[in-house]
Symmetry: C2
Subunit: 437 residues, 2 copies
């Protein structure tokens, strides 16, 4: 017999995991809304044409789920992120600017499945369309700070860099201007792997791109400049005083920095370049000190993307929060627990099969009062009903026998505090359970 | 230049639509939770093997999005419903019974796009695994009644039928026993179209299946029996007194009916058979009198499905709510409005560019108090800032100029009531706006 399984790299989410995931998503959503973002969603499927040429060759040939519609022979793709579909929408719609939207949804990537890496995962994205100013980037960074704070995550930094600054430095400052856009993006992708493959690994990747040793040296010397945010910007300004791109970027970054609500969270990191092709200005990633996992957020400015869909020349910036990494980090840091198996507050335990209809009446009354209630559906004996309640860790139990039916008074057992309440009217039962949840 | 569009049959959801959709989904979710259902989710993608043979040939050849993974050449499919993946999971997992789960998520069907019919849409499913008893089916029907009531939908009926009853009547009562399972399912699918194609349409479909005229007459005479729930059951019992399947079904349906909280909502309809192959017992669909659209819910008992995945012999029942139809019905009935364009409560209007930082401080304070706040990100003049606020119909505006900065007292304009509040402290502003939302 065939064994039916969930496909490799995909996951089922049992209730305890879903309850935690929903709590994490609701926390992020609440902060998005506070910042004035509104929900906007696009389909899971896009024309392959829409995705093509936006992420870079490596991603597009290896990681995008493409498929041909068997009926029309059209090529479709499952969405790889939530940003490109947003750009496609904005390009052909008229929206009031700034258009601030959030989207919490699944994306699909043909990754090699491994611990913490899946082929289907959730992204929570917030984007601001229409503002070219550092205010918009600062708002995205403040949003990240408030999301981290909503989770009580304290040991983290937001790494900031700027694509214009990098291009300015590389093309003119380091004399690599003749490389052209494609080669420059390949260099960025190599640098992006620094955390994973180290300095020597990046050197090998740059050698594989056939860069001469002295260019590689210049690149490595620059991206490894360290210091605090303002020091690095001053250092760059003084090293490359006459470059227009660098000047514009430095001014943007300084103004952005001034509006960030918690300066000590933000570091400038010339080696953080992000893998995707579409960034054009400031870029940001969030890292926790512990556990050692990849970035919890990634994002940046992408001023050219909407134009590439035939839309108006609309600047844009945003960030994506990775649910899986936030959950992994939160569980390891002890900030989250997988201890809630159900939303149910109370089990109605029926002591006699003849009282079924009365048990249902009580159940209906509890549900009508908004209390999440279970009643036996399996015609089980009392003990089995109680065991079910225990296996789900449902906090309250109400026992219903002939005495309860006659007196219309009830006994409630509070499992958590091992406390028994007797002789309660139904109204008192409802009040007791409602007030505790 | 290529025009990039959303694929045919797929949709983008702008904020006003998303806000309504989220409200509808949250309302349904709340009722699910009250009934003791917990969240459980499966991936968007399944192995094609998992779906194959579960829905019937027509669905599987025309409507399931199948695709071959270009790397492994494995055949995958986008999920067609939320029930089959649930059965696949339960078959290979150990869960406490009854396992009551809900799942609100997208499904994909290769339909011909037309008004109200899409290739990507949302289902809200609640299922009970483990109980063979009418209690479980009754709980599903009561759940439907409470969801309809949560939306204030009043003009609706839940049509009930039973697959065992139909099989009993057709095979033995009408002497069609030699047709076999496949042909019987084809007959069900033809009857399922009664609402769409009428009595003569169904007759033609049955003729196309090469049924003799007298068989067709007997089928049509039976499925058109009408009357109230109990009358129909009595009529069937007396017409076919010695059939075991019919006896079992009638008893199940009578016990189920006793537990339903609002009898007048439920009608028995022998012509309602549901299109999918996997049903084995009671089946239910919900229809509104107005507008004339298809069923708002569909579901039933599927006792064999989990076994077919190599799992234990677990009975199961459930229903699916169609978000799109509920929204279409609610909009037409005037129960829903698309009038909310944003969750944002207040706009901070900056009267002087020099006060930017102060405006951001006030914005941070409002957001920290949980108030959804917008502040200008576009370096716009006052009028443009106000126009943005109006275009989104944001209820409150705070004006910040030098006077406000010096006095730390603020003017708030309540747009909806056209009322101006002056000389408020920030705490008073927060209280005013918080209390209204």
């Amino acid at each position: 017999m065939t064994i039916y399984k969930v496909p490799k790299g995909f996951r089922d989410f049992p209730p305890d995991i879903m309850i935690l995931r929903k709590r994490v998503m609701a926390t992020i959503e609440k902060v998005f809304i506070k910042y004035g973002f509104d929900p906007f969603e696009t389909p899971a499927i896009e024309y392959w044409e829409t995705l093509k040429g936006k992420y870079g060759d490596e991603v597009e040939s290896k990681l995008v789920y493409k498929f041909q519609d068997p009926w029309s022979e059209t090529w479709f793709a499952l969405r790889y992120d939530l940003t490109v579909p947003l750009a496609r929408f904005v390009a052909s719609s008229s929206v009031a600017l700034p258009f601030k939207r959030y989207h919490i949804g699944r994306v699909w990537r043909h990754e090699s499945p491994q611990k913490g890496r899946y082929r289907e995962f959730w992204q929570c994205d917030a984007d601001i369309i229409g503002s070219p100013y550092p205010e918009a980037d600062a708002e995205i960074i403040n949003l990240i700070i408030d999301v981290m704070s909503a989770f009580n995550i304290t040991g983290y930094t937001i790494r900031v860099n700027d694509r214009r600054l990098l291009t300015g430095i590389f093309e003119e400052g380091l004399g690599l201007g003749s490389y052209g856009r494609e080669r420059m993006l390949a260099i960025f992708r190599a640098i992006d792997k620094l955390d994973k493959i180290g300095v020597n690994g990046v050197r090998s990747e740059l050698e594989a791109l056939k860069l001469p040793q002295d260019h590689i040296d210049r690149i490595m010397n620059t991206i490894l400049i360290s210091g605090n945010y303002n020091d690095i910007l001053s250092e760059i300004s003084s090293r490359f005083p006459n470059n227009e791109k660098i000047k514009v970027a430095v001014q943007h970054l300084e103004e952005m920095f001034e509006l960030i609500k918690d300066h000590k969270r933000v570091v400038f990191d010339l080696s953080m370049v992000r893998g995707l092709d579409y960034y054009t200005g400031p870029i940001f990633e969030t890292y926790v000190e512990e556990p050692k996992i990849g970035s919890l957020t990634g994002g940046g400015r992408y001023d050219d993307l909407i134009k590439r869909y035939g839309g108006p020349d609309l600047p844009a910036t945003g960030t994506s929060f990775g649910i899986e990494r936030i959950i992994d980090a939160g569980l390891e840091l002890g900030l989250f627990k997988l201890d809630k198996k159900t939303y149910t507050s109370v089990c109605v335990v029926c002591l006699d099969p003849g009282l079924y209809k009365f048990c249902w009446e009580i159940t209906n009354r509890l549900r009508d009062s908004g209390i999440a209630t279970q009643v036996d559906l399996m015609r089980r004996k009392e003990r089995k009903q109680r065991e079910y309640c225990e296996s789900k860790n449902i906090p309250y139990v109400i026992f219903i026998g002939h005495k309860e039916k006659e007196s219309n008074r009830f006994t409630v057992f509070d499992r958590e505090n091992q406390r028994r309440y007797e002789n309660l009217t139904l109204e008192e039962v409802i009040q007791l359970i409602s007030s505790s949840s």
